[in-house]
């Protein structure tokens, strides 16, 4: 049996998901819910599941962002889901800190040039507030705060050429002091 921690939409705490493989039956339990899929075929990065009486081809791949993070992309039923692994031993050990850390680092989504920094260290920011303006592929883009918080550190300056995944601003999410 495997156990997997997932943070589901609308939840702050990770939900533990139990995965049981019995022959070709895949039993998944979470949140007092239980469902079952059948593995019809399984190869590297792809396969076919039977779920709810329907055959569903799927694909997945692991990606490594330039920032060194691993992401899991899943395609099933015509939709793509992007998921990110967490280390359950370290950061999550600090209780709610796991969520704050995940929201905290504002990274360059594309390689490009930093044009403007709109906040200073120690600033309190609100959700969607512009933090940094970047230019990439001749397009200007604004990087905004994913949630309310405090600017812990600024790790770039205007004119910097940055790689994708470079941490530009560190945010401390959550409570305003």
């Amino acid at each position: 049996m495997d156990k997997i921690a997932l943070k589901l939409p609308g939840k702050t705490e990770a939900t533990e998901i139990q995965l049981r493989l019995e022959g070709d039956r895949l039993v998944i339990d979470y949140d007092d819910r239980s469902f079952e899929s059948r593995i019809i075929s399984q190869e590297a990065g792809e396969g076919i599941l039977e779920h709810d009486g329907r055959l569903l081809p799927y694909y997945y791949c692991w990606l490594k962002t330039a920032g060194g993070e691993k992401q899991l992309q899943v395609w099933v039923g015509g939709c793509v889901y992007t998921l990110e692994p967490v280390e359950t031993g370290g950061r999550r050990g600090r209780g709610g800190g796991g969520t704050a850390a995940a929201l905290g680092d504002i990274k360059a989504p594309m390689p490009g040039k930093v044009l403007q920094i709109k906040v200073a260290e120690g600033d309190a920011v609100v959700s969607d507030q512009t933090l940094v303006v970047m230019e990439s592929m001749k397009m200007e883009m604004t990087l905004t705060a994913p949630a309310a918080g405090t600017v812990k550190a600024i790790a770039c300056k205007p004119g910097d050429m940055v790689e994708m995944g470079t941490v530009l601003v560190k945010l401390e999410a959550g409570d305003k002091a």
């Binding site: 495997d2 997997i4 921690a5 997932l6 943070k7 589901l8 939409p9 609308g10 990770a14 998901i17 995965l19 493989l21 895949l26 998944i28 979470y30 469902f35 899929s37 593995i39 399984q42 990065g45 396969g47 599941l49 779920h51 709810d52 569903l56 799927y58 997945y60 791949c61 692991w62 990606l63 691993k70 899991l72 992309q73 899943v74 395609w75 099933v76 039923g77 015509g78 939709c79 793509v80 889901y81 992007t82 998921l83 990110e84 692994p85 967490v86 280390e87 031993g89 995940a102 929201l103 990274k107 989504p109 594309m110 390689p111 592929m137 397009m139 883009m141 905004t144 994913p146 994708m164």
Partner: protein
């Protein structure tokens, strides 16, 4: 026509001065015709699909377009070195570059497209508009003159009809522009626009243009040969745009009656004749809700969305381009051409709709286009391809044909549901939501469709089947790879995170 070809030159070898899906698409037709294809490629494109499909390939050292695909002199040299008879420019890059067409002419290489002077003239919006107005093709009514005598301008505005746009002659970027909905607002708008134009451009001159409410973008495919024949291959409706970028195109337009189609087709042919147009081109019109239409511009190239026309007319436009470039007459007369069924094209981009359509780069770990009757995928990438920051992020054009518009929509949505791309983020689900929107289904669309009908993320739960796959992936990852051995689980971000998304796109 069969029987008496007037072959003035035979093209045996063609260099395609382009990349990606259009190079692949052109390659196929040329090879069918027994023509040898020479591809060119930049360093990031070494091993790209368009190179693998070609018969010969020549490296253009460098990464950016300026260093590679836009190197006119180098391309001409390559043509000479490789015994190339003709160049196909595709779209973008050098396709509407009159200098390059002229360089080809000088070197004795056939440029597959219209004459250099036609490219130059149609590239100048003012010359184009004046030429069309003289030829009797309707243009957007407007007025430009010196000074801002309120009486003169008021009279002109009345003639044009409200609403009118007041624009700065030296303008750009919306500065010095005012929308005037009724006569009472005119005077204040004139003053404000002139003041703004003066401070922004140091030039207070303004002009008036009719403002078309809820305009449609309807364009006609035209084709001319060197024997004076000009035909049109009906229209393409391209009203679904984001920031002036077309994303869904179709033919026929749901807005055209047979009468209006005939009228607009005639105007398109007249426009082509007025400039002595040869080879494939497009006459773009703005269509107002009352059925009046106005010339916008002529695109002197094969368009991105040409497959839509190919699907409903059952004609190969690239083949016709080659024949015309060889000096042969057009392979079809107007009366041979029919528009059958309905075709829709969706442009699949490597971009993230949840992050303001930011281009997405990376390696395609999976790329599985849909297949089946009535489905055509023109693409320049496959599994393993890299999408770099250097070029247009369009991955593919998904084109479908159905007997009716409704059937074409159903087929396109099925195909999008079965189009699996992983490694970069795409707009596939976004396109599916556009096609599933009731307003799109009604056909009552216009160029502001996406502004009026926002397509937003659905904050739905991750469905169990996705959890099942994530669970399997995590389990397998642990077993066979050190890199992911530390992974003990996955976090699914909710839709509010700007960096990661999960879930479906839904029309609101």
């Amino acid at each position: 026509m069969p029987g008496k070809p007037i072959k003035t030159k035979t093209i045996k070898k063609v260099l395609i001065a382009n990349r990606g899906e259009i190079a692949v698409r052109i390659t196929q037709t040329l090879q069918e015709m027994g023509i040898t294809v020479v591809a060119v490629y930049s360093d990031p494109d070494a091993g790209a699909l368009h190179v693998r499909k070609a018969d010969e390939a020549v490296r253009l050292p460098g990464e950016t377009a300026a260093e590679t695909y836009l190197q006119k002199e180098r391309l001409i040299e390559i043509c000479k070195e490789h015994g190339v008879d003709a160049v196909h420019p595709g779209y973008g890059f050098l396709s509407e570059n009159a200098d390059f067409a002229r360089l080809c002419d000088k070197a004795g290489i056939v440029f597959i497209g219209p004459k250099p002077d036609v490219i130059r003239d149609m590239g100048d919006k003012i010359i184009a508009k004046t030429t069309m107005e003289k030829a009797g093709v309707p243009v957007v009514p407007g007025w430009s003159g010196a000074g801002i005598e309120p009486d003169v301008i008021r009279r002109e505005a009345d003639r044009i009809g409200y609403p009118v746009l007041v624009k700065a002659a030296a303008g750009g970027g919306g500065k010095g522009m005012r929308l005037v909905k009724k006569p009472e607002e005119l005077e204040a708008a004139l003053e404000a626009a002139a003041r703004e134009a003066q401070s922004a451009f140091g030039d207070a001159r303004i002009f008036l243009e009719k403002y078309i409410v809820r305009p449609r973008h309807v364009e006609f495919q035209i084709f001319g040969d060197e024997h004076g024949n000009v035909v049109h291959l009906f229209e393409r409706e391209c009203s679904i745009q984001r920031r002036h970028q077309k994303i869904v195109e179709e033919s026929p337009s749901p807005a055209l009656t047979p009468e209006l189609r005939a009228k607009m087709g005639k105007a398109a042919v007249k426009a082509a004749q007025a400039i002595g147009y040869t080879n494939a081109g497009t006459v773009e019109f703005i269509l107002a809700p009352d059925g009046s239409f106005y010339f916008l511009e002529v695109n002197t190239r094969l368009q991105v969305e040409h497959p839509v026309t190919e699907m409903v007319t059952h004609r190969d436009l690239v083949r016709a381009q080659l024949l015309v470039a060889q000096g042969e007459p057009l392979p079809f007369r107007q009366e041979d051409l029919t528009q059958e069924g309905h075709a829709i094209e969706c442009r699949v981009y490597a971009e993230d709709p949840a992050r303001n359509f930011l281009p997405s780069t990376g390696k395609l770990h999976h790329c599985h286009p849909p297949e089946g009757p009535g489905i055509r995928v023109d693409t320049g990438v496959d599994t393993g391809s890299a999408v770099s920051i250097h070029y247009d992020p369009m991955l593919a054009k998904l084109v479908v044909w159905g007997e009716t518009r409704q059937q074409a929509i159903e087929k396109a949505r099925w195909a999008l549901d079965h189009y699996a791309i992983l490694g970069v983020t795409t707009n596939i689900q976004f396109l599916n939501a556009v096609l599933g929107h009731p307003v799109f289904a009604s056909g009552d669309i216009h160029t502001h469709f996406l502004e009026e009908n926002p397509i937003r993320t659905d904050m739905q739960e991750i469905p169990p089947e996705a959890l099942a796959v994530a669970a399997l992936a995590s389990r397998n990852g642990k077993g066979n790879s050190q890199a992911v051995s530390a992974v003990s689980g996955v976090v699914v971000y909710d839709g509010t995170s700007p960096w990661l998304t999960a879930g479906k796109w839904r029309a609101f």
